[in-house]
Symmetry: C7
Subunit: 93 residues, 7 copies
Amino acid sequence: MIKPLGERIVVKVKEKDMTTASGIVLPDTAKEKPQEGEVVAVGTGKMLECGKVAPMEVKKGDRVLFAKYSGNEVKVDDEDYLIIRQSDILAVL
Amino acid sequence: MIKPLGERIVVKVKEKDMTTASGIVLPDTAKEKPQEGEVVAVGTGKMLECGKVAPMEVKKGDRVLFAKYSGNEVKVDDEDYLIIRQSDILAVL
Amino acid sequence: MIKPLGERIVVKVKEKDMTTASGIVLPDTAKEKPQEGEVVAVGTGKMLECGKVAPMEVKKGDRVLFAKYSGNEVKVDDEDYLIIRQSDILAVL
Amino acid sequence: MIKPLGERIVVKVKEKDMTTASGIVLPDTAKEKPQEGEVVAVGTGKMLECGKVAPMEVKKGDRVLFAKYSGNEVKVDDEDYLIIRQSDILAVL
Amino acid sequence: MIKPLGERIVVKVKEKDMTTASGIVLPDTAKEKPQEGEVVAVGTGKMLECGKVAPMEVKKGDRVLFAKYSGNEVKVDDEDYLIIRQSDILAVL
Amino acid sequence: MIKPLGERIVVKVKEKDMTTASGIVLPDTAKEKPQEGEVVAVGTGKMLECGKVAPMEVKKGDRVLFAKYSGNEVKVDDEDYLIIRQSDILAVL
Amino acid sequence: MIKPLGERIVVKVKEKDMTTASGIVLPDTAKEKPQEGEVVAVGTGKMLECGKVAPMEVKKGDRVLFAKYSGNEVKVDDEDYLIIRQSDILAVL
C-alpha cells in the first residue's frame, strides 16, 4: 500500500452526492464544499523545528472532512485516492 | 459528533438579525460583520514548534464572536455548522 | 462582559475630534490617523511557540493609541467597541 | 554518483504512460499529475532551526510519488534524473 | 508621557533641512531620505518566541536615524512625535 | 581570497556547453538549466535561530550543481566567480 | 561616530569604476553589480529568537562586497556612507 510521507494521509474519497450514515450532508453552495473520505494510510507525523515528530491525530479507518481541491489525486488499482496533509483535514466524523 | 482537528472548533452559527440575551447587537456596516455562535465541539489544541500542545481557550457551550466569512461550512443532520480555527475567534461572550 | 481571546483586547473608542485630558491631539492628515481608546477587557496573552504565554502589557483602564482601521467593531448594549490585537497598539497614554 | 544536499534526493523518473508493477496508474487529468520514480541517492537530511538534522524518510531504492514539475532535471551519463526535496515527495509506493 | 509598547520608541523628529551638531547632513536624493530624531520614550522590548524579552538597544535621549515614512505620527501638547519600531532604526548618532 | 559570509560559497563556474569528466551533460531545455562549478571558498555556516551555526555540507574543491541565475557574479583577477548560498546548491558531483 | 543597530554595519562605499588593490574588478553587466566598501562601524549583532545575540562576522576595517542598491545612504561630514544589514554582505575581500 502507499505510505504517505510526513504528516500526509491517503484518503478514499466518498462519492459526492450522498448522505452519510450519520446523516451528514455536505452543502451545495458554490463557495467551499468540504468533502468526506476514509483514511486508508497515515504518515509518521510532521517533523517540528525542535526535532520532535508531532504524533498524527487521525488513524486508518477514520472518516474525515476536508476542503475540496485539497491534496493530490492518485490512482491505485484503478481506484481514486487523495494524498492530503493532515493540516488540511477539518474534522473527524 | 464531529471532532475538529488541532485548534479548530465547531460552531453553531446564530441567526444573523437578532439581539443576544446579553444585549449584544452586531453592527450592520458593510465592512466587517462579526458573527455570533455557540461552540459545540473543540479540537485538542494547536501543536507548537516546541512539541507542546497549546491548551484550548474556548470550551463547549461558549458563545463566541468571529469575523464573517471565517471557517468552512458543513451540514450535520440538516443543520449548518462552521468549522473554524480558534485563532479566528475574536472573543467569548 | 466580552472576554477577548489570546493577545486581543476590547477598546472603547474615543470620539474622534476631541483633545485628551493630557492635551494629546491626534493629527488630521489623511495618511494615517491613530485613534485613542480605553481598554475595557484584555485576553490572557499570546501563546508563544515555546509553549509559554506572553503576559499582557496593557490592562483594563489604560488609555491606548492604535492605528485607525485596526481591529473588528462590535456593539454591546448599543455601544461601539473595538476588538484589537495588542500588537496593533502603539502606546499607552 | 551525485550526492544531493540537505533534504534533497535524486530520482530516476519512470516513463510516463505505463502501469506500475503494483498496478498503480497515474491520473490523466490536466490539473495535477503526480509522477513515479526510483530514489537513486539521498541527502543527509534537513537542518532544523534547533541545530538537529531531521533523518530522511526515504532511502535508496524506494519508489516514490511526487507532483509533476517538482525539482530540477539533470542528465548523468545521458540519463535523465530529477533532484527534488523530500518535502515534495507525496508517498513511498 | 506616552509609553510605547513592545519594541516601539517615541521619537521627536528633527527639522528636515538642518545640519546636525556633529556635522551630519542627510542626503537630498528623492529615493530614500533617512531622518534624524531624539528618543523621548522607549518600550520594554520585543517579546521573543522563547519567552524572553530582548533588551532595548536605544535609550531616552539618543539621537537616532530612521528611514523616512517609518512609524506613525502623533501629536502631544501640539508637538509632533513619531512612534516607530526599534527594528526600523538604522543607527544611533 | 574572497571569504563568503554565513552559508555562502564562492564558485568557479564551468564553461557551459561541455561534458564533465564523469560524463554529466546538463539538459538544454529552456526551462531550468542547472550549472556546474567548483567550490573555491566556503563561509562559516548558517546561523540558526537557536544560536548554533550549521556546519557547511560542501568544501573547497567540491564540484557542485546549482540552478542557473542563482547567486551574484563577481570578477577576481579577471576571472568570473559566483557567490551563492549553499541552500541553492542542488548536489555535489 | 554612527553606531548601527542590531546586525547593521556602516560602510564607506568605494568609487565605482576602479580596480581594487587585490585586482578585483566588479562586473559591468546591467543585471546585478556588487559594490565594494570598507566597514567603518558594526552593530552588536542580530537578536535571535532564542534570546542570544549572533556575533558579527565582519569587523571595522574589513573590505566587503554587497549587492548594489542594498541599504540606506547617509552623509556624515559631507561623506557618503551606507548603512546595510550584514545579511546583505556577500563576502569579505
